[in-house]
């Protein structure tokens, strides 16, 4: 359960989120809205990368402002840019890097990393230089590096924006199969067919919050 309790955020004078009240317990939730509407800021609050300047966020009752570490243990995050999420030179090392803080011995980490890679269609890439993967493969690697930690919630901020159609579909396919709660920020509205709930943001406020059909109809009208 993710709760936003009268959440607001300002960068200096500039208010980017205002009085957001949401209780998200559906399996598939999306944030949509124009550029600059505050989607990324809101999404980052779920794992404490950004802290609210007003109000409070709770993830399963934990406040990221106080319990950042425990919250991040439950919440995985996939970013937009495939190139800046990979921190180790090979795909296997990168996934294994996620497991470092769990105090798992190295051989075990390598084994689990290879397993996780295979699960995400990257079998045989463990020793492959990560920088040489395609954009789509890098995004799958980023996903893999998060899922290997078995989070309860996965937040994805426009994970498919920089991918071509085929890789978008492939990534969406992976997301669809996950057991976790997924919070997806996206402009690719076709990914939202099987979603339970779509939250529409405009200038830092929630302007619609409904099932996909209804919410997206509202969003399309808003854009025109």
């Amino acid at each position: 359960m993710i709760e936003f309790d009268g959440v607001g955020h300002s960068y200096g004078e500039h208010t980017v989120l205002d009085d957001v009240r949401l209780r998200l317990d559906e399996r598939r939730v999306a944030f949509v809205g124009a550029n600059g509407s505050g989607k990324s800021t809101l999404a980052r609050m779920i794992n404490g990368l950004v802290l609210p300047t007003r109000g409070r966020v709770l993830v399963d009752g934990l406040d990221p402002a106080r319990d950042g570490k425990r919250v991040r243990n439950r919440v995985g995050f996939v970013f937009t840019n495939p190139d800046s999420q990979i921190v180790m030179p090979t795909a296997g090392e990168d996934v294994a890097f996620s497991l470092r803080r769990k105090g798992i011995p190295k051989a075990e980490r390598e084994r689990r990393a290879a397993e996780a890679l295979a699960e995400h269609g990257l079998a045989g890439y463990a020793e492959h230089p990560a920088q040489q993967l395609s954009g789509g493969q890098k995004q799958l690697l980023a996903l893999c590096a998060m899922l290997v930690l078995e989070p309860d919630v996965l937040v994805c901020d426009e994970p498919t924006t920089l991918l071509d159609l085929r890789n978008k579909r492939r990534f969406a396919e992976r997301l669809r199969g996950l057991e976790q709660q997924v919070v997806l920020v996206t402009h690719d509205l076709e990914l939202l067919d099987d979603f339970d709930r779509v939250v529409v943001l405009d200038e830092g406020r929630v302007v619609a919050d409904d099932e996909p059909d209804e919410a997206l109809r509202y969003y399309r009208e808003l854009v025109v």
Binding site: L49, K69, F77, D83, M88, A96, R101
Partner: protein, 216 residues
Amino acid sequence: MSNVIGLYQPGRSPLHRLPAGWKFLALLVFAVLIVVFDRLWQLGVGAAVLCVGFAVARLRPGVVLRTMRTVLVLLAVVFALQWWLLGALSAAVVCLRLLVAIGAANLFTLTTRVDDLVAAIERAASPLRRFGVRPETLGLLVGLTVQAVGALSVIARQTREAQRARDAGRSVAAFTVPFLIRTLRHADELGEALAARGVGDEDGSDAARLSEELRR
């Protein structure tokens, strides 16, 4: 653009399997010797040893040449300059020394996984814990440094491609400004990604400060 230092190439040779810590120590000793040597024949022996190393590692020659190409071009320039200033013999000594030292560093990075190196450094640095040094931070720094070399060269290539696409010519400013902006953005995004992966969540760690720094 080719990197001056090559990235790990998977393999099963004895050099690949040598523990990273010992290999690193060997690299250090070798590098010190190469710096101390100042006779052509001594450096020649060093070069021969290095060649044996490459042969043992069974790396594809294409990979080795690709990583050394930039170095060879640079060395050609240095050689010409030194020859003109100091004569052929000292030019040869200086260039051979550089070539062998960089070649050895390459042989090391081509046959060593960063994860292994990081683990070795963490082990070696663990006695320093007493003095407030956190081995995890050192290890992470090494990993990220090696990674940054790759990331920066990708950014440089992208910037140059964009420059060419806009027909912006070869001016330094037309390259430097977008290059710096992209690099800063990369640092920003990398800092966020590290934080999301729990770097800095170790209790009161230096890594927390590192990821804070990166996010600035």
